[in-house]
């Protein structure tokens, strides 16, 4: 009887030890899982930070490239104007003077006229190049006029109809005006070159708190937005960088054969 009692007591002890052992193991594995979970979260967080930093770095480089590019363009345009156009003007004036001279025979006159013709076409092309590099109208008369001139150029020269409504954005700095101008230029270029668009609608709206919205709609071929997101060409990359310099969000809507809609809107900083 006593032996049996002892035996059950032993059994109880073993069972209790086993029960605690199981609880211990369950807690241990749960602890391991929790440890894993939190370490993983931390590691992923760090990776994300790193990636964000890398992205930020890339963005800075891109912006620096763009601003250098603009500066170079400005310098070249200036040089073209000062060094070449100014001197060609002198050549043209002198040639005109020569033409008035009665001592010249017919052959010489023809040569001078030839010189005059070449000088004026060269002048015209240098003016055009300088104009493309940096529209002087933007500097002098502001964004609204420059954009309207740009639209007129396209409407005149190509089979593209542009409907537009442009608000005057007085609050933008000169460089930011240039960014907006370049974005619109690039969008029109894309629409005509890649999209074969025949009609466009461009709207630049002023909003409260020095913010603005630019929408640009075309009836071109359209494209797959998800593909663009993965890999975009230089043109769109440029637009993206300029948008981020302007502290705006870029939103693209497009479908194959259904045209595309670009919306650029100032971020809400408040």
């Amino acid at each position: 009887m006593e032996e049996h009692f002892l035996e059950t007591q032993d059994q109880d002890l073993v069972i209790a030890a086993l029960a605690y052992g199981i609880i211990f193991l369950v807690l241990l594995t749960t602890g391991l899982l929790l440890f894993f979970h939190y370490s993983r979260r931390k590691i992923i967080q760090k990776e994300l930070e790193k990636a964000a930093l890398r992205l930020e770095h890339q963005k800075t480089i891109l912006q620096a490239t763009i601003s250098t590019q603009e500066e170079e363009r400005k310098r070249i345009a200036q040089d073209l104007h000062d060094a070449i156009s100014a001197r060609l003007n002198v050549v043209s004036l002198t040639a005109n003077l020569l033409l008035d001279d009665d001592d010249l025979n017919e052959a010489q006159k023809l040569s001078v006229e030839h010189i005059l013709g070449i000088t004026s076409t060269t002048l015209e092309s240098s003016r055009k190049i300088a104009h493309d590099l940096l529209p002087p109208i933007l500097d002098k008369f502001g964004l609204k006029v420059a954009l309207e001139e740009l639209f007129d150029d396209f409407t005149k020269s190509k089979q593209l109809q542009i409907k537009h409504s442009i608000d005057d954005l007085g609050f933008l700095s000169k460089t930011n005006e240039l960014h907006v101008f370049r974005i619109v230029q690039e969008l029109i270029n894309n629409a005509t070159r890649h999209g074969d668009a025949s009609r466009m609608k461009i709207k630049l709206q002023k909003e409260e708190g020095n913010r603005f919205t630019l929408t640009c709609k075309d009836n071109g071929n359209g494209f797959d937005v998800s593909k663009i997101k993965k890999k975009s060409g230089i043109g769109l990359q440029n637009i993206k960088s300029r948008t981020s310099i302007l502290e705006c969000d870029l939103h693209v809507e497009s479908e194959i054969d259904k045209g595309s809609l670009f919306t650029i809107q100032s971020k809400n900083n408040e």
Partner: protein, 215 residues
């Protein structure tokens, strides 16, 4: 009263295993993308069959202990395969060598002592369970820097196998007891098994239920 609770838990386990089996079978068409799920599905089928057989044999008071060998060895094989699918090349070699070593050891043991077929074989319990725990820890390590796959199944395997192994170590001892004393431990085991099945259900939900609404 306790018997009733025990029975409820037992049938809940079978029901949940059955639900898991049905859900995994339903998602069968996605298995091409998830090879490891195919193996785990097989594991669920084997578990379900074994569980039903042991319960039937229990009703007729037959000795079903020899089924445990079948359970441990198939579990070892299938879960090893499961991890084999998830691991990288170097770790796969590790699994293969462990796999061969374990099967060799068990085979040799049964040739020398065929008698142990009718009781819990402690060596077998140890060498078929411990590698699985190691694999699951390795998988945790692998998932640290990546978007982890099968984390619920992995957690289920880690907790259930390590805790149940401890119970099976004392399986022979518990089998000699009158039922009233041992029943508590087997009760804990059933609860652990329930948690295991719930985690598997969560894995299914995470992987497949979203996919279903998409298509």
């Amino acid at each position: 009263m306790t018997e009733l609770v025990d029975d409820i838990i037992k049938y809940l386990g079978i029901l949940l295993l059955f639900i898991n089996f049905i859900l995994f079978t339903k998602s069968h068409k996605y298995f091409k993308m998830f090879m490891a799920f195919r193996i785990f599905h097989l594991y669920l089928i084997v578990s379900l069959i074994l569980l039903i057989i042991t319960n039937i044999m229990n009703e007729y008071k037959e000795n079903n202990l020899y089924l445990s060998h079948f359970y441990f060895i198939t579990q070892f094989i299938l879960i090893s395969l499961f991890y084999f699918n998830l691991f990288k090349l170097k770790q796969r070699k590790f699994i293969v060598s462990i796999f061969i070593a374990v099967l060799l050891m068990i085979g040799i043991q049964y040739i020398i002592h065929p008698k142990i077929l009718f009781e819990f074989n402690l060596l077998e319990v140890f060498i078929t369970s411990f590698p699985l725990v190691i694999y699951s820890v390795i998988h945790l390590y692998n998932s640290l820097t990546t978007k982890g796959k099968y984390l619920y199944i992995n957690a289920a395997i880690l907790t259930y196998i390590s805790a149940s192994t401890l119970i099976f170590f004392l399986g022979n001892y518990l089998a000699n007891f009158d039922n009233t004393v041992a029943v508590n431990i087997w009760f804990i085991h059933k609860i652990l098994y329930l948690v295991f099945l719930i985690l598997i259900l969560l894995e299914w939900k995470n992987t497949f239920s979203k996919r279903k609404t998409k298509t």
